[in-house]
């Protein structure tokens, strides 16, 4: 079995599969950790009970999502070695330290304070507990900082040299960390995480408003989420445009694939809205295009010349159809988010935010939009930089482990089976938690109850009461 398969293709499939599952959870928990910190701060500040109820409501959901993020993340940290050992040997001296710093500054911070955040409110009191929540939220952001720095360096490598063994070596760590695409990618990803969370929170609020539009908790979360969509969706579109211009400067071939520009255009490139990219023939079939708009968007001038894939050797082409379509899906989701934000603003101004069933149904339908956009965006940037792992310097085929196809195929099958069992169950539990309406006197995660009474010393009994 699997003898005739290509081990590198299988390893890529495994990375794509495990990464796609993993990225969903951090995208949600980065935003949710910040949201929980905001809710707890509002509770401490105003003393309003609705905020602590919402905090406990979302804390239970956070605990489940975070657990799934942790276990799928451990897989990622070892997969570099198991499936991409040649990459690890050559690139380890540069991105290894970045990931080690992620562990030291972010993972430990999150993990160390998570227990107190989940189960410790009655043990340490509200102020220390808020500190723990804040540390977890900050930890998720620091984690995003390092992992996106590592990813960005692979996309736009700078500040390095190569030694006699063919290993990349950092010549200037600041240039490695703050490589050219990093600031854009970091902003774009963190905003995406916030939007993803806002859309889920908004959908849950809307779902409960459709049943009872006077439910206090549902009103508060819906309103907060819609402010987020109204304000952040437009900012995200601007950030995405800036990121695109940065990509045009450093990875023009990726932009050619995203735009479906097989041909060069001397007098202004069109914007291809839709079509079927034909990699074999090197053209977009059935293209619907707006003349010169491509140059307007990317070069801010209708007649600016734009090079196409015909200027690039074929062996350096990324898979165009995937890049082309995933990009359009991401942009489509972004435009829908903008529409939701504007619609909710209109309803808010008219005083109908909690009454418009159409708005609530729209918000419920948009629950998965953030996840879809994150995945599509990730596919765009990762498939679009093929055939390289370190852009322009190390090819994907030269990065893989010296493994036979049956080994990689077996582990891929094992991952698929296990992930579908585990994460399907997890999603069902998450949906079940979200289907229950937030109510006054909301309890935190269940383990709070037995742990609260624990303690062998009078001091801990005192702290517990």
């Amino acid at each position: 079995m699997f003898e005739g398969w290509d081990a590198v293709v299988l390893a890529r499939a495994q990375f794509a599969f495990t990464m796609s599952f993993h990225i969903i959870f951090p995208a949600f928990s980065i935003g949710l950790a910040s949201y929980l910190a905001v809710l707890e701060a509002l509770w401490l500040w105003t003393g309003r009970e609705v905020f602590i109820n919402l905090f406990n409501y979302w804390l239970k959901i956070f605990a489940v999502a975070f657990g799934m993020g942790v276990v799928s993340g451990i897989v990622m940290s070892y997969q570099f070695g198991t499936n991409w050992s040649a990459f690890s040997d050559k690139v380890g001296p540069v991105i290894g330290p970045l990931m080690a710093y992620e562990v030291l500054t972010a993972f430990f911070l999150e993990a160390g304070f998570l227990g107190v955040m989940l189960f410790g409110l009655k043990r340490v009191g509200p102020r220390l507990h808020f500190l723990a929540t804040l540390m977890v939220a900050i930890g998720t952001l620091i984690s995003a900082f390092w992992i996106l720095s590592a990813n960005s360096w692979m996309q736009t490598p700078t500040g390095h040299t190569v030694n006699a063994d063919g290993q990349f070596i950092a010549a200037d760590w600041l240039k490695v960390i703050f490589n050219p695409s990093f600031p854009y990618r970091l902003v774009h990803m963190v905003l995406a995480a916030y939007l993803t969370t806002a859309l889920v929170v908004g959908a849950v609020g809307a779902w409960h408003l459709l049943r009872d539009r006077h439910l206090a908790g549902a009103r508060v979360m819906f309103s907060m989420a819609m402010w987020m969509a109204t304000l952040v969706a437009p900012i995200q579109i601007i950030a995405g445009d800036q990121h695109g211009l940065n990509t045009l400067e450093h990875q023009p071939v990726k932009i050619m694939a995203m735009e479906g520009h097989f041909q060069s255009h001397q007098h202004g490139a069109p914007l291809i809205l839709f079509g079927l990219p034909n990699q074999e023939a090197g053209r977009v079939d059935y293209a619907i295009e707006v003349p010169k708009l491509g140059s307007v968007i990317l070069k801010h001038s209708p007649d600016a010349p734009m090079a196409g894939l015909d200027t690039v050797p074929r062996e350096n082409w990324p898979p165009v159809p995937i890049t082309f379509w995933s990009f359009r899906i991401m942009v489509g989701m972004g435009l829908l988010m903008l529409a939701l934000g504007l619609f909710s603003l209109l309803m808010r101004v008219q005083g109908k935010l909690y009454d418009s069933r159409l708005l609530h149904m729209f918000a419920v339908a948009m629950a998965p939009a953030g996840f879809i956009a994150v995945l599509a965006g990730w596919i765009t940037t990762e498939v679009g930089r093929q055939p390289y792992t370190v852009y322009g310097l190390l090819r994907t085929v030269d990065s893989a482990s010296p493994l036979a196809a049956p080994a990689v195929a077996s582990s891929l099958v094992a991952f698929i089976i296990v992930y579908f069992i585990v994460f399907a169950a997890g999603v069902i539990y998450l949906l079940r938690l979200m289907a229950a309406p937030p109510h006054p006197g909301e309890e935190g995660p269940p383990k709070e109850a037995p742990i609260r009474t624990a303690g062998i010393t009078p001091a801990s009994q005192g702290a517990a009461s």
């Binding site: 605990a63 489940v64 975070f66 657990g67 942790v70 276990v71 451990i74 897989v75 940290s77 070892y78 570099f80 070695g81 198991t82 050992s85 690890s88 040997d89 380890g92 001296p93 290894g96 990931m99 080690a100 710093y101 562990v103 030291l104 500054t105 993972f107 430990f108 160390g112 998570l114 227990g115 107190v116 989940l118 410790g120 043990r123 340490v124 030694n163 063994d165 070596i169 950092a170 482990s401 010296p402 493994l403 036979a404 080994a407 582990s411 094992a414 992930y419 585990v422 169950a425 539990y429 079940r432 269940p446 383990k447 037995p450 742990i451 609260r452 624990a454 303690g455 062998i456 801990s460």
Partner: protein
Amino acid sequence: MSIAVDLAIVWAFIIAFAVFVYVVMDGFDLGLGILFPLFPEKRDRDVIMNSVAPVWDGNETWLVLGGGGLMAAFPLAYAILMPALYTPMIAMLLGLVFRGVAFEFRWRTTKARNRWDIAFFGGSLIATLAQGIALGAILQGVHVEGRHYAGGWWDWLTPFTILTGVSLVIGYSLLGATWLVMKTEGELRDRAYHLSWIFLLAMLGAIGAVSMATPFLHVQYTQRWFAWPNILLTTQVPAAVAAITVLLLRSLAKKYDYQPFFLALALFALSYAGLGISMYPYIVPQSITIWQAAAPENAQLFMLFGVAGLIPLILAYTAWAYWVFRGKVKPESGYH
């Protein structure tokens, strides 16, 4: 050049430290999962789970540091060992997935709780077996050509690695049982004492068996342990094992709370030191030394700043989290 040599040794100790802290912290945690079938009562299982729920995530982070640190500080070793240990590594990761989610999932369902309890047990057992097997496979050495692993994906499977796998299952069970002695009360604690006795005796057998088998793997190991004057130092290890064992037996007989767990950890520390004596200075035994595998000096130095500044801080707030949840865990009547 002298500074590069120093850094490689410093980093070998840092990685060894991270892996040991992982064993200290996640060992009992995995051991609890392995012991799960021996405590069929839901009430006991809730207590066992709650005794570790607030800290398990932090415990596993040390595994990420061990792996990530190895890639960063000794990329060549990481690149050779991971493909060589392909099957046990994948099995370990999948096992950790199952047991990790069980912490949350078992509270989210009544119907399927038993299934997540089985997942918690199975995942813990597989992850532990895989770690023990990986350890044995590293000790027996792997086939290296140039800068690559050059063996097959089942090369690791030998009687020796099965022995180390089973030994680690026994060892983690001992840690789990003594942890329960420390963290629980009443009938649950009595049974934990009983199990501690059994697993202590089994662990002594396992330490003996692995110690006997290791020198036969490579002639270098034999020389390391038995050649003069090394033997003056190396005989201290079994002597210390004997001393700790006596203390541990005494603490179990006297039904102490804390001593059994920490003495069991001391047994682990000694076994770990023995491992270090066998392996040094190789990181891939008999093929790649820590100097050959070391990342360039500036990478090791860059990370050393972070480690020196942050590890004490991490240990401090980890200790605080354990302190917050200190003491015996009691079941609350009427809960669920």
